[in-house]
């Protein structure tokens, strides 16, 4: 039997973190949370994280910067990332045009479709 997969949720909104954490915990995942990109990157580097859900607009450090840090670090570059944001379409275009960033594994636009999110998480951590 495979070990419980650990998901890091990075979002500056407490409600969003609690929502995602509850949904994912209910589906058998272990959860760690961070409220900004600085703390999120620390937790990702600490190891043991199988997937990251990442908000973009955050007060302290944006999701884009954390995503860039993740990609630039050997210890974190292979962790799959799901970006969850209110401006998914524009962001997707921005990242796809960016020469310095490899697009994340998935984009989700708020409000998130739970079933699709769970399917995506399942496929990325398996």
């Amino acid at each position: 039997m495979s070990a419980t997969k650990k998901i890091l949720i990075v979002d500056d909104e407490a409600d969003q973190r609690e929502y995602l954490a509850t949904v994912l915990e209910d589906n058998g995942y272990a959860i760690v949370t961070a409220e900004d990109g600085v703390r999120g990157f620390e937790l990702a580097r600490a190891g043991g994280v199988d997937l990251i859900t990442l908000d973009i607009s955050m007060d302290n450090e944006s999701g884009i910067k954390m995503f860039r840090n993740l990609q630039g670090d050997e210890a974190t570059k292979s962790i799959p990332v799901i970006m969850i944001t209110g401006v998914s379409g524009e962001l997707k275009g921005f990242i796809e045009r960016s020469k310095r960033l490899t697009p994340p594994q998935a984009f989700f636009e708020k409000p998130v479709d739970r079933d699709t999110l769970l399917d995506t998480v399942k496929s990325l951590v398996s």
């Binding site: 409600d15 969003q16 609690e18 929502y19 607009s57 209110g86 401006v87 409000p111 998130v112």
Partner: protein, 477 residues
């Protein structure tokens, strides 16, 4: 007069007469006779001006009096009735004893010159009038960006600041603007256009379309630069209103997406809590629903305040209660952000009339801004936001003070402008615009005091009694 002198006398290209002490013309050259007729037995003023009495002052009389040459400008009338402008020179003629026996008067026709002079003066007057009255702000700057000339509209709007730097007068800055179109024109000698927001001496912000053009000296070098600014404030207000509709939809929809996700989360927690008979989860879910409903309501109110002049729902309030309520909402956020949050309530009465929700929203907005200003200030370790409440017999004042990053004058002046945000992606530029609109809709105002690196104070003063006439100033980008 011998023949040769008579020849010279007659050939003189001007009108020449010789007069005695009684102003009788005793001799005249041919040019004079041709233009003014027979002089014999007549006085100078009769022949020259066709008038009954001598001129006052009379240059001939002065030469008889002091023995010196005199010059004057006169208008004389020829035989055919034309007025002719002349320059008159008078010279004494003396006898062997040195006594003045007569005066020679030479008059040179300067009518054409005079016409040209008048045309030039008229032309100058027209250009001056054009410069003065053109409905634009016009100034001329030297290489040090000092204002050396300005038209009437400019002087009325910005004051008479000859010798002052243009950026001090227009922008209240202590450094040149970047980019500076005037400097650009000095460098390349080309015409440049740029849009700016300037502030007149009454503090009114004016959107201007600036055109700079070189003024060359005789060597073809740029000596000064003329800066012409057309007031496009009304156009910008209209454009801003139209374009902001699109921007506001985009901004608000982004916010609403997050809030809807929060609602989804709350509903999920409530539903799964009921399935699992988990009361704690149900409670947390319901709190989440309520919180997000409240935030959606706030966002919708913001849209309404922006979209139209929403009438306040006037109720009797107490400033202390309002401050305590806002403080209660804000304090958890303060604890999270490690910014000290204090309140100083210095009132004995504090009753006033206002829209409770609007005032609460306004103060939360100002407090949020204060926290943001502290959060981005990396130069200090200890930050505090203080909500101070005071009153006069007529008004209550809520002052939100922080020791955060502070604002320079340019940011301060634009702080209440729609969609202006100094927070980059972190701000929508709606908050302070709406805060100001709420204050104005209550007959109040917000006074900003701020210094870079020191912090900011935003003081909202509202009348205690509901005012009868309220003017809401449209402040746009």
């Amino acid at each position: 007069m011998d023949t040769i002198h008579e020849t010279y006398f007659n050939a003189m290209p001007c009108y020449v007469t010789v007069q005695d002490r009684d102003f009788h013309i005793i001799d005249a050259n041919e040019k004079f006779i041709k233009r003014f007729g027979d002089f014999r037995g007549r006085y100078c003023y009769q022949v020259y001006k066709q008038q009954p009495e001598k001129c006052d002052p009379c240059p001939v009389e002065r030469t008889f009096a002091d023995g010196r040459q005199h010059r004057s400008e006169e208008i004389v009338r020829t035989l055919d009735g034309r007025d002719v402008s002349v320059i008159v020179y008078t010279t004494p003629i003396r006898n062997g004893n040195g006594e003045i026996t007569s005066v020679m008067e030479m008059s040179t026709n300067i009518t054409e010159l005079k016409v040209l002079q008048n045309q030039l003066a008229d032309s100058r007057k027209k250009y001056h009038l054009l410069f003065e009255e053109v409905p634009c702000f016009i100034s001329m700057q030297d290489r040090d960006l000092r204002i050396v000339e300005a038209n009437r509209l400019h002087r009325e709007a910005f004051g008479t600041y000859y010798g002052c730097k243009c950026y001090e007068v227009y922008k209240h800055r202590d450094k040149a603007c970047h980019p500076c179109m005037v400097q650009q024109t000095f460098i390349d000698g080309e015409i440049h256009h740029h849009e700016e927001v300037v502030t007149d001496r009454h503090g009114r912000r004016i959107n201007v379309m600036v055109t700079t053009a070189p003024v060359l000296n005789g060597s073809g070098e740029v000596e000064t630069v003329i800066e012409m600014s057309a007031d496009i404030t009304q156009i910008r207000q209209l454009q801003s209103k139209l374009s902001s509709v699109g921007m506001i939809i985009s901004t608000i929809s982004h916010d609403l997406k997050g809030l809807l996700n929060g609602m989804d989360g709350g509903i999920y927690l409530v539903n799964t809590g009921m399935e699992k008979d988990n009361k704690d989860r149900i409670d947390r879910g319901w709190e989440m629903v309520l919180r997000n409903v409240d935030r959606i309501r706030g966002t919708v109110l913001d849209i309404l305040y922006y979209a139209k002049d929403r009438e306040p729902e006037w109720t009797a309030l107490n400033a202390k209660d309002v401050a305590e309520e806002v403080f209660g909402i804000i304090k958890p956020k303060a604890a999270k952000s490690k910014v000290r949050c204090e309140r100083q309530i210095d009132i004995t009465d504090g009753h006033f009339e206002a829209d409770a929700k609007a005032v609460r929203s306004l103060l939360i907005n100002l407090m949020d801004n204060a926290f943001d200003a502290c959060r981005v200030d990396t130069k200090k370790n200890d930050h505090a936001v203080v909500l101070n409440v005071s009153e006069t017999p007529e008004a209550v004042t809520f002052a939100v003070k922080d020791n955060g990053i502070g604002m320079n004058q340019e940011v301060r002046e634009k702080a209440f402008t729609l969609f202006f945000s100094s927070k980059g992606a972190g701000g929508t530029g709606l908050g302070l615009f709406i805060a100001n609109k709420i204050a104005q809709s209550h007959g109040g105002n917000i006074v900003v005091e701020s210094a870079p690196g020191e912090g900011t104070s935003l003081a909202v003063t509202m009348p205690k009694k509901r005012p009868e006439n309220i003017e809401v100033t449209e402040i746009e980008k």
